[in-house]
């Protein structure tokens, strides 16, 4: 369990126990955990994620904000970065996966595998700093800081988030590309692939028309998994590029024991994860005639 609460964190070690107790009562922290949880859950169902603790202090001044208002701009930033990374990474890994399956065990296949495995093996912050070194310091192509605010226009946003997006791309491409390759190669031993060869189909046609349509389910699952990571797991990259995303917000909220914000972030992460996996399952069903067209 997380030690301490918002009262202790804001009032400091010198505070009198009575002051802390009074402050807790004001915030509702004196109630038992399960009651607080049900209060929160009841609100959450109705779309009310509660009020952030931060902005309050013991003197009774209340400049606190709604959790929704705190999270919304951050979530928009996170989704923007995630979409950018996904728009680069997903097509790239699909194409690389298909090409490596087509030219399997060739020099091309091996170099792509080695390269993607290398980038996934380094920690994200290291990849981020290397990119900063080459694309921001040595050659000043992109900015090293991705500080955006609601007034930043669209083009500027893309320009500033380029480096974090590249970093995330390098981190997730290996997983998706190797799964695409493996799912396709796995099918190449099927009798219907031999049948396709004997009916005169070329290698490209065999991969694209005969193997790939049967490989979507595992590929979609891995893509969903990585997209979820782009939303919920990018705090390190956000910190390196000082990017105002949900990940940083959540870390800050944990540090100050601002529990309503933590809960709000956790809820969003959970929803993201479930939604993406649901989509992957739907893709799995839609691409499988056995499930789509029952006997």
């Amino acid at each position: 369990m997380l030690p301490g609460d918002f009262g202790q964190a804001i009032l400091g070690q010198a505070a009198l126990p009575e002051t802390v107790a009074a402050f807790r009562q004001e915030l509702g922290l004196d109630k038992p955990a399960y009651i607080r949880y049900f209060d929160w859950a009841l609100g959450a169902i109705q779309g009310d994620l509660g009020t952030s603790f931060s902005g309050r202090n013991a003197s009774g001044a209340d400049r606190s904000a709604e959790v929704v208002d705190k999270i919304a701009p951050r979530l928009w930033n996170t989704l923007f970065l995630a979409s950018m990374a996904a728009l680069i990474a997903v097509p790239l890994s699909l194409i690389l996966g298909i090409l490596t399956a087509l030219y399997r065990n060739s020099f091309f296949d091996r170099s792509v595998n080695t390269a993607t495995l290398t980038t996934i093996s380094f920690p994200e912050f290291f990849v981020a700093y290397i990119l900063i070194l080459f694309f921001a310091s040595l050659n000043q192509i992109f900015p090293s800081l991705a500080n955006v605010d609601p007034d930043t226009n669209f083009g500027e946003r893309i320009y500033r988030t380029a480096l974090p997006a590249f970093t995330l791309t390098l981190v997730i491409v290996a997983h998706m590309m190797r799964m695409t390759r493996a799912a396709i190669i796995n099918l190449l031993a099927s009798p219907y692939i031999q049948m396709a060869k004997l009916s005169g189909a070329s290698q490209t046609e065999i991969i694209l028309k005969h193997a790939l349509p049967n490989a979507w389910a595992p590929i979609a699952t891995v893509i969903a998994f990585n997209l979820a990571y782009l939303v919920v797991g990018v705090v390190v990259v956000e910190v390196v590029f000082v990017y105002p995303g949900v990940g940083q917000l959540m870390v800050d909220a944990v540090r100050t024991r601002d529990i309503p914000v933590v809960q709000g972030c956790a809820l969003i992460f959970a929803v993201t994860y479930i939604l993406l996996n649901l989509i992957a399952d739907i893709i799995g069903i839609v691409t499988n005639p056995r499930l789509l067209h029952p006997k």
Binding site: S190, P191, Y192, Q194, M195, A196, K197, L198, S199, G200, A201, S202, H210, P213, N214, T287, N288, P289, R290, H293, K295
Partner: protein, 537 residues
């Protein structure tokens, strides 16, 4: 239709040698085979598994499977030596002038595409017809092949039609480009006899109508007798002999060919009247809401063999599952020596479990590949008889000798055994428990005819020596004749007929038994023609 000149040579294979890579070295699969095929002619290739017939069939198309290579000889197709052509050059022939019909249609259709698109794929790719023409032609081929709803069946996916229908659609796929040569690779092996008749008739018909040359690969003599003009026998990658079909059937020259011919001649005199050791009484069973068994009554006399015959899906194996307690019947019971057995496996005592043992169709997957022969056989011997140490080893050796193997096999793994040896080990494992009833579920179906004969003789001898009672599940009528005393005919979860073998096999038959028996191919090359005439096709 293309103009096809009769009596000119279409395919000529000269001294072909093919090697395959396994166990870290190259093995010879085809050792210098010659083959000649005229336009419009059907050649039957016959032999046991491992004879190289599929490899030769594929080689006729200039194709070798991954891990195989052509090391010598020529494949001249219409004047072009395919061994000297690259894959992309050969692709112009594949699916255009030569097509292939695979053994397992269910696995050979792409599950992701509609049947009509797969039927016409190669025709459209080769630019032989426009898509709409090709679709129309495919629909008329479906019609010619007696498929139900020929107009719409092509809109379905492979999993939506039955195995026999898929096999016919694959024939339509092979015919669609109107090729010069079709290679049929065991196309009816996976089908039930009643379905096989229809598929054979459809294939023979269409090959004749279009005047297409064909290579028909099979291990079943009676099937090849219906299809081929000429038969070539292969063994260990070499030709044994070749002759016109009628001549070959009447007077085979080589001993090996004669041994192939003689397999189907085992007959067992039936024995009657004995005490009933096992009885299945009024059993109804379900898979979920699916009613698999409907009021089943079967009696097994002591020391006798009762054969359960029927097509796939008739509920034969489910009867075995009910007897062994793997599936609880909804109604009814199983009696062993007049005592009712608890319906489920869990409720049965060790003693009850010991008395009923099972042998399975796929010996390969019925054994743990990581266990030695000793581990496999000793486990039931120690579990049921409580043997340990030297006694246990002695018992295992004794069991190995009972199944005509010996102590040398004791430390081998299943992967180091042949198909027939694996099935023998499974028999020994069943015997290790000292059972009184043994259920054999299609135990010879996956084996070559000569190996089948060995296993059937072994089972017969063990029955005599140990006074075993067998329930023998099979779809093969020749096997039934070879081993059974009594026969139970099943269809769609019901018992059609039960009685002594001589009664079941002599007329008059109930309608279904008649259909089943008349569908079993015979060695007579006119059998199919006569049958179709009799059935008014």
């Amino acid at each position: 239709m293309k103009n096809k000149k009769e009596n000119t040579t279409l395919l000529q294979i000269k001294d072909l040698k093919i090697e395959g890579f396994s166990d870290e070295r190259w093995h010879k699969i085809i050792k210098g085979v010659n083959l000649e095929l005229k336009r419009g002619e059907v050649l039957g290739l016959i032999g046991e598994s491992g004879a190289g017939k599929s490899t030769l069939g594929l080689a006729a198309m200039g194709y070798t499977q991954p891990g195989c290579r052509i090391t010598g000889g020529q494949i001249n197709f219409d004047g072009v030596d395919l061994t000297k052509r690259t894959d992309s050059e050969k692709r112009k022939y594949w699916g255009n002038r030569m097509t292939y019909v695979a053994q397992s249609a269910a696995a050979s259709f792409n599950p992701a595409h509609r049947l009509i698109n797969q039927t016409t794929e190669s025709t459209i790719r080769a630019g032989l017809k426009k898509p709409n023409e090709a679709f129309d032609e495919a629909r008329s081929l479906y019609d010619a092949l007696n498929l139900p709803n020929p107009e719409t069946i092509g809109e379905r996916y492979p999993h939506q039609v039955s195995g026999g229908q898929l096999q016919r659609i694959m024939t339509a796929m092979a015919m669609s480009p109107n090729p010069d040569l079709i290679v049929f690779d065991e196309p009816t092996t996976a089908l039930d006899v009643t379905t096989q008749v229809e598929v054979l008739a459809a294939m023979r018909d269409i090959v004749k109508t279009y005047g297409t040359a064909a290579i028909y690969i099979t291990h079943d003599l009676s099937v090849v007798a219906q299809m081929a003009d000429r038969i070539k026998v292969l063994r260990y990658g070499e030709e044994v002999e070749e002759a016109m079909t009628r001549k070959m059937l009447k007077s085979p020259k080589e001993d090996y060919t004669k041994s192939l011919w003689s397999v189907r001649s085992i007959q067992k005199p039936e024995k009657k009247n004995a005490d009933i050791i096992l009885e299945v009484k009024n059993v109804d069973a379900f898979y979920g809401s699916f009613h698999v068994l409907k009021n089943i009554n079967i009696k097994l006399p002591l020391g006798r063999t009762v054969a359960l015959v029927g097509e796939s899906g008739s509920g034969k194996s489910t009867v075995a599952r009910v007897i062994t307690g793997l599936l609880e019947p909804k109604i009814g019971s199983v009696k062993f020596k007049n005592r009712e057995l608890p319906p489920s496996l869990k409720g049965r005592t060790k003693d009850q479990l010991q008395k009923i043992q099972m042998i399975y169709q796929m010996a390969d997957v019925a054994m743990n590949p990581k266990q030695t022969v000793y581990d496999i056989i000793s486990r039931p011997a120690s579990f049921f008889a409580g043997l340990t140490g030297a006694n246990l080893r002695k018992r295992v050796v004794e069991l190995l000798e009972q199944i005509d193997l010996d102590e040398r096999f004791i430390d081998r793994y299943p992967s180091e055994l042949s198909g027939g040896q694996k099935q023998r080990i499974c028999i020994a494992r069943a015997l290790a428990a000292n059972p009184e009833v043994v259920i054999c579920d299609e135990v010879t179906s996956a084996l070559d005819q000569i190996v089948q004969e060995g296993i059937l003789k072994l089972l017969g001898r063990l029955q005599k020596d140990l006074n075993l009672s067998y329930i023998f599940i099979t779809h093969d009528i020749a096997t039934v004749k070879a081993i059974s005393d009594e026969v139970v005919v099943m269809n769609e979860g019901e018992v059609v007929e039960q009685g002594l073998k001589s009664e079941i096999f002599s007329p008059p038959h109930p309608e279904y038994t008649e259909l089943l028996l008349s569908s079993v191919p015979e060695m007579d090359p006119d059998w199919l023609t006569d049958l179709l005439k009799a059935r008014n096709y």
